[in-house]
Symmetry: C2
Subunit: 427 residues, 2 copies
C-alpha cells in the first residue's frame, strides 16, 4: 500500500491529475447529498409508525398515577416514563424529570438555571466573573453552542479511545475555581463514537474540583444505541459517584429523539435531589407542565425497558449497513496511505475522520462543491475552530446506502486530493 | 334587599348565627371540590378526541412545506400552523414562531432572552440595574411569577372594565427608563374577564416609553374563547402600532391549551422581525426544533380558522352553563348586600369577585376548611399581596355544574360570613 507521505513530486503530480479527473466526473453528476447531521432516516422513523395508533379517540388516557394525561399536572412527568428513563440512565426513577421533546433544551435550561440562580448554595455562575467549561474534543457542536451563548469560556480537552484526558481534567478542575462544568457524551460519543473506559468514569466520579458548584453534564444521548452484538459497556457513573460522595456532581440527560421520532420524542434529565430542587423551582415558573399525551404514547408503545431494547435492535439493523458502507469505503480507498485515520464505533450516530493537518476545511469544501454536504470543518471544536483543521464528522444515518456509497467515494477522493495538494505545496 | 353595611349589631349577630349554621352543615358534608385553576374540564378535552385519529400508522406526515414532520427541521414551525396562528393573533404569518406545548414557556424564554441578551440594540436588561415591569391588577399569577423569578421589580397598575389605567401607564413608562415592559391579557383578561377597550388599545400602541427596549407582553390567551353570541371585540394592536411606528413594542402569545388539550396543545408567539431575530437566535441554541407531529395533528384536525371557530362554539356550549351557575349563585345570594361585586365576562376562564376589604383571605380559608379549594387570595397581585385583601378569582371551568352549584352556595355563605365577622369587629 502506498504511503503518500513518501511519494516524490512527480508521483504526487500524477496522482493529482488522476484524482482531479475523478473529482470532475463526480462534479458533473450534480449530486445533492447530505451527510451533515445526526438525523435518523425515514426508514427508522417508520419503525415507530405503530406508536401513533396507541392513543386514539377511543383511548383511556390515564397514566399509572391515575391522572388523565389530557390535562395540566405532573410537572416532572408520568411515573411509567420516570421509571423507564431511570432504567435507561441507570439512576433512581425519583431522580428523573421527564420533559418535552428536546434534551438539548433541558441542557440549555440547566445551564441557564445555574447561570441565573447558582447551585450548591453558591452564587449564580453569572455573578462569579468569567466562568469556564471543559469541552472534550472533538465534541458536539450544539453543546458548545449552549455554553457559547451564555458567554462561558470553553477549554478544549483532548479525547482518545478511552475518553477525555483525565489527567488534564483533574489538574484543571482542581486548580481553577472558575471551571464550572464539563460536557460529556460518555457512550458512542459525538463525533468519535468511543465509550468512556471504566477508568475514565471512575476518575470522573472521583474529581475534586476547586469549585463546589462544578457539574458534569452527562449527555447519554446514545446510551442504548448499539449497532451490533458486541456493544460497548459504560460504567454506571452514579454508582461511582456514590463511592466518592459526589452524587451532586453529575446531571444526566437523554431522549427518545433517535428511538421514536426526532423532534417528536420525549426527553428526560436526572439529578440528585439537591440539584433537582434548584432545577424544579425554575421549571415550576417556566411551564405548567410538558406534553403528557406524548409521554403516555411512548410509555404504552414501548411498554418497558425490554420492549425498548427490542425496538433498538431494529434500528441497528437499518444502521449497520450504513456504517459498513462508510467504513468499507474508507478502508478500500484510504487505508495505509498515511493521510487519514478514523473510528470504528459499535453504536451512536457518527464516524470521526482525521485527515492531514490543515486539510479538513479543504475536504469539506471540495465535497460541497461536488454536491455532498458534510458537517462544517471545525464544528466539533469550541468556537468552530479546530486548531489542526483535521477533524471531520461523518453522519451516515440519514442517506440511503446507495447514496452513502456515492457520497463516500467522493469523500475519499476529496481526502486524497486535499492531501496531495498539501503535500505538493510543502515540497 | 338588605345592605349589610347598614345593619345593627344585633341584626349582624343574628345573621352570623344563621350563616354559621349553614356553614357547619356544609363542613359536615366533607366536600372535596376544586375551583382553583383555569383548567378545562374533561368534557372539553373529549371534544378533541378525534384529533388523536388524525395521525396514525398509515398517515402521510408531510407538511405543506414538503417536510416530513417525523424528523428535525423547521425551527419556527410548519407553515400551515404559522398561517393559522397568524389569523388567531391577527398578525402576519411570517411574524409567527410556532413552539412547543406552552405559551407560558415562550413568555419565560422571551423575558430570559431580553434579560440575558437585550433587545432593540440595548444592553441586556440584567445589566441595566434594577429593571421593572408594569402589572395590571388583578392579573395572572404565573405572569407575575416569571418576572419575580428573574428579579424584575413589579409595579401594580389598577384595571377597570376598560383595561389598565392608561394615564398611569403612560406617565410611568414615559418617566422611568427602568420600566421594560407590561403584562397584558387583553381579551377576557385573567381574572377579570374584561376586554381592553379600543381607546386602551390605541393608547397602548401610542405609548412613548423612556426605555427604547420597553415591550408589551400581549398574552392573548383567550382571543377566540367566547362564551356567547355577543363576544367582545378586541382592537388589533399591531395595526394601531403601525400607525404609531411602534411595531417593535408588542410581543404576541397564544396557545391551543384551552382549544385542544391543556399541556398537549401547541403554543405560538409573534413579533416584529427585529424582535424575532433576537429571539430566534436564542431558540436556535436552545433546541433543534419543536414537536412538528403535534403541530401537524392540530393543523389537519382544525383545517383552518373557520374550523377552529366551529370547535370553539362547542367549548362555549359546555362552559356557558358553568359560568351561569357561578353568576346566578352570586346574584341570588349576594346581590344588593353591599358586600361583594363581580364581573360578567363574555368569554375566558374566570369570574373575578371583590369582597369587602380585608376579607378575601378569610373567605378562601373558610372555603378550604369546608373542602372547596379556591385560588389563594392575593395570587392575582404581584408577590401574592393584594393590598386590599379583596380580590378572589373563581375558575368555573373544571368542575361539573352540579359540583359548581354546591361550591358556589358554600362560597356565597363564606363571603357573607366573612363580611359579617368584619362588620361586627368594626362596630
Amino acid at each position: 500500500m502506498l504511503d503518500y507521505l513518501s511519494l516524490s513530486r512527480e508521483e504526487l503530480e500524477k496522482l493529482r491529475l488522476g484524482l482531479q479527473k475523478e473529482y470532475d466526473a463526480f462534479q458533473a453528476q450534480n449530486l445533492k447529498l447530505d451527510m451533515s447531521r445526526g438525523k435518523p432516516g425515514f426508514d427508522q422513523a417508520d419503525l415507530s409508525r405503530p406508536m401513533l395508533d396507541v392513543l386514539n379517540s377511543n383511548s383511556d388516557f390515564k397514566s399509572e398515577s391515575g391522572i388523565d394525561c389530557r390535562n395540566y399536572g405532573l410537572l416532572d412527568g408520568i411515573p411509567e416514563l420516570k421509571k423507564m428513563f431511570g432504567e435507561i440512565l441507570e439512576v433512581p426513577a425519583d431522580w428523573v424529570f421527564v420533559g418535552g421533546n428536546s434534551s438539548l433544551n433541558m441542557m440549555f435550561d440547566t445551564i441557564a438555571c445555574f447561570m441565573e440562580k447558582g447551585v450548591s448554595g453558591c452564587k449564580p455562575w453569572s455573578r462569579q466573573g468569567a466562568v469556564k467549561f471543559l469541552c472534550p474534543v472533538p465534541g458536539y457542536d450544539r453543546h458548545f453552542g449552549v455554553t457559547e451563548y451564555f458567554g462561558i469560556e470553553m477549554i478544549p480537552v483532548p479525547t482518545d479511545a478511552n475518553g477525555p484526558d483525565m489527567e488534564e481534567v483533574e489538574q484543571l478542575v482542581a486548580s481553577d475555581e472558575q471551571i464550572k462544568g464539563i460536557w460529556c457524551v460518555p457512550k458512542y460519543s459525538n463525533p468519535l463514537g468511543i465509550t468512556y473506559s471504566d477508568e475514565v468514569v471512575r476518575r470522573m466520579a472521583a474529581l475534586q474540583p476547586a469549585a463546589k458548584d462544578f457539574r458534569i453534564m452527562w449527555d447519554n444521548a446514545y446510551c442504548i444505541h448499539d449497532l451490533n452484538d458486541r456493544p460497548d459497556k459504560l460504567l454506571n457513573l452514579l454508582e461511582e459517584c456514590r463511592k466518592n460522595g459526589t452524587e451532586d456532581m453529575p446531571v444526566f440527560f437523554c431522549s427518545t429523539s433517535k428511538i421514536s421520532f426526532p423532534g417528536a420524542g420525549v426527553a428526560a434529565m436526572a439529578a440528585s435531589p439537591a440539584n433537582m430542587n434548584v432545577l424544579k423551582k425554575r421549571y415550576s415558573f417556566q411551564t405548567i407542565g410538558y406534553d403528557k399525551l406524548n409521554q403516555l404514547r411512548h410509555a404504552r408503545y414501548f411498554k418497558d425497558y425490554q420492549g425498548l431494547m427490542e425496538h433498538m435492535k431494529r434500528h441497528a439493523e437499518i444502521l449497520r449497513p450504513k456504517f459498513e458502507a462508510v467504513l468499507s469505503n474508507l478502508e478500500k480507498s484510504l487505508l495505509g496511505k498515511g493521510i487519514a485515520s478514523w473510528t470504528h464505533p459499535n453504536g451512536g450516530y457518527f464516524v470521526s475522520v482525521n485527515v492531514l493537518s490543515g486539510c479538513a476545511e479543504r475536504v469539506v469544501s471540495l465535497c460541497k462543491e461536488a454536491g455532498v454536504v458534510l458537517t462544517p470543518a471545525g464544528a466539533t471544536y469550541p468556537y468552530g475552530k479546530d486548531p489542526n483543521d483535521s477533524n471531520i464528522r461523518l453522519a451516515p444515518t440519514f442517506p440511503p446506502v446507495s447514496e452513502l456509497e456515492t457520497a463516500m467515494k467522493l469523500f475519499c477522493i476529496c481526502v486524497e486530493l486535499a492531501a496531495v495538494e498539501k503535500l505538493l505545496s510543502e515540497q
